[in-house]
């Protein structure tokens, strides 16, 4: 066990994946609590698919992936939020359309240019090799910004999540905070997408929140528990990925699933007791 960990830490790419991944896991879980409770999980899913499309385009044009993806996914976040706030259009159907279209565009672009190779599989399901040195700085900076904003606006985020109408009636500019949550989510998805994979990054948002809610009853505790869970599950998942040579994202998701099952059982037991 210790040998494995020693070996793990001797590779710089693993360290990079861990540093970025842990930051992303932390931020994703914090935002996730709000997104899940607002029934906005679909937005996270949609954004990750849009992210895949932009990544494919960047790759085929030989452009820097993050610099291309970030503005485009932010734009998508703006649109998706607008769509789901507008009750006239069927919100989740529209989001499903956008997300599958982006995915299709990405796959076709890749097939026409670089071809379906191992890289594509990594983009979809994650790889610990994904992080270049230059990516690390940008990713860490983005994560820290997300973290600071979340802590600073924690109370507002609670109020807007719990009861948007009340907050609005009391003069809080709820639209601004909804947009803030959507933008922060977009940033985290783009940054985390290459380690976790475009198909799986949204689980990093959804799982920890759902798991924590099985057991804890106050918003603060759910947030704190989700954050810890997310980081721990990510770490364990990466160790698995390294030891068994499985895709990083998929391994992390499976660990998250195990945690969910455990907490689900705990919650049930607590209810009976």
């Amino acid at each position: 066990m210790f040998e494995l960990l020693g070996e793990l830490f001797s590779y710089p790419f693993v360290i990079r994946a861990l540093v970025v991944g842990i930051m992303v896991a932390l931020c994703a879980s914090l935002l996730g609590v709000s997104l899940v409770l607002k029934r906005y999980s679909m937005i996270g899913d949609g954004l990750s698919h849009v992210g895949f499309g932009t990544l494919a385009i960047a790759m085929s044009l030989n452009l820097a992936p993050l610099e291309v993806s970030i503005p485009l996914v932010l734009l998508a976040a703006f649109l998706l939020l607008r769509i789901s706030e507008n009750s006239r259009i069927k919100g989740d159907a529209a989001i499903a359309l956008i997300s599958s279209s982006s995915l299709a565009i990405g796959v076709v672009v890749i097939a026409m240019t670089v071809g379906m190779n191992a890289d594509v599989c990594n983009y979809m399901f994650g790889s610990i090799l994904a992080m270049k040195k230059s990516d690390v700085y940008l990713s860490v900076a983005v994560s820290i910004a997300v973290l600071v904003l979340f802590v600073f606006f924690y109370n507002k985020i609670f109020a807007v999540t719990f009861d948007e109408n009340f907050a609005k009636a009391a003069g809080t500019r709820t639209g601004v905070y909804n947009m803030l949550i959507a933008f922060l989510t977009a940033l985290i998805i783009v940054v985390g997408m290459r380690i976790m994979g475009a198909m799986l990054i949204s689980s990093l948002i959804i799982f920890p929140a759902l798991t924590a809610m099985r057991v804890f009853n106050s918003f603060r505790r759910v947030v704190i528990c989700a954050a810890f869970l997310s980081v721990i599950c990510f770490f364990i998942g990466i160790v698995f990925s390294f030891a068994l040579d499985t895709p990083a994202g998929a391994s992390v998701v499976l660990v998250n699933l195990a945690a969910f099952v455990l907490f689900f059982a705990l919650g049930r037991i607590r209810k009976l007791a």
Partner: protein
């Protein structure tokens, strides 16, 4: 006392047509207005318009003596909240949010005020209980405490007694009356017409448009009032779940 706010020819339109049509009235500081009317008559919509949640298609709500951030609102409950992980203290404290602007954390004053409302509504023993595990009546009281945290000027209540047992309901009416006597202006939507008319000093009877607006005494004598209150309105006994003194 001066006019607190005025509805000026307010109309609200949804897809199928007007929910509220051409409603005008003024409310003075210290008034206790009860909005009555049948299901679907536009009561909630009007209240939301006053709260700034719905934009009128025509006309406007003129907030003269009160700022948007000084309004406390008790919504008709949404299903989303029913299974939300939050404790009562977190919910009540969130009522202070509109007041502290950019401040990222609650101050001691915020916490004191939350505690005061918790005591007033007699939910001290469930202060740290999970909101989703509370009974409907307890949830309602937590939300009312939150609304009181948000304001000492204008309280907008949408069916505050729905789901409360008669004893708790009359206790709630007592608390509201006490707050009103200390100067809080109250606008309450209610199906409990008897109590509404009993406790309020003004009545607005909605039927998409304004069927009646005026003092409570005039309402009891009016056609609209007689119809809604039933034959009993002519006599001393008013219908409704609560006992009157």
């Amino acid at each position: 006392m001066g006019v607190l706010f005025a509805c000026e020819s307010v109309s609200v339109k949804y897809d199928m047509g007007f929910a509220v049509e051409n409603v005008s009235f003024e409310l003075e500081a210290g008034d206790y207005l009860c909005i009555v009317g049948e299901n679907g008559s536009g009561k909630t919509t009007l209240l939301k318009t006053i709260a700034g949640l719905v934009r009128p298609a025509a006309g406007k709500v003129d907030l003269r003596g009160v700022k948007q951030s000084e309004i406390g609102y008790l919504p008709q409950q949404t299903p989303l909240q029913k299974d939300f992980p939050a404790n009562v203290m977190e919910v009540v404290l969130s009522g202070r949010l509109g007041r502290n602007g950019w401040l990222p954390f609650y101050t001691k004053r915020d916490k004191d005020s939350a505690n005061e409302e918790i005591v007033r509504l007699n939910i001290g023993d469930i202060k740290f209980a999970s909101y989703r595990s509370l009974s409907g009546g307890q949830q309602q009281r937590a939300l009312l405490a939150r609304a009181l945290c948000a304001t000492d000027k204008l309280l907008l209540l949408d069916e505050p007694t729905s789901g409360l047992d008669p004893l708790i309901a009359s206790e709630l009416y007592r608390i509201l009356r006490e707050l009103n006597e200390r100067g809080l202006t109250i606008v309450m939507v209610s199906h409990d017409v008897g109590s509404a008319v009993h406790y309020g000093n003004k009545v607005l009877h909605m039927q998409t448009s304004k069927l009646f607006f005026g003092s409570q005494n005039d309402y009891v004598a009016s056609d609209a009032g007689r119809r809604l209150l039933g034959g009993a309105a002519a006599g001393r006994r008013l219908p409704g779940g609560t006992a009157y003194v």
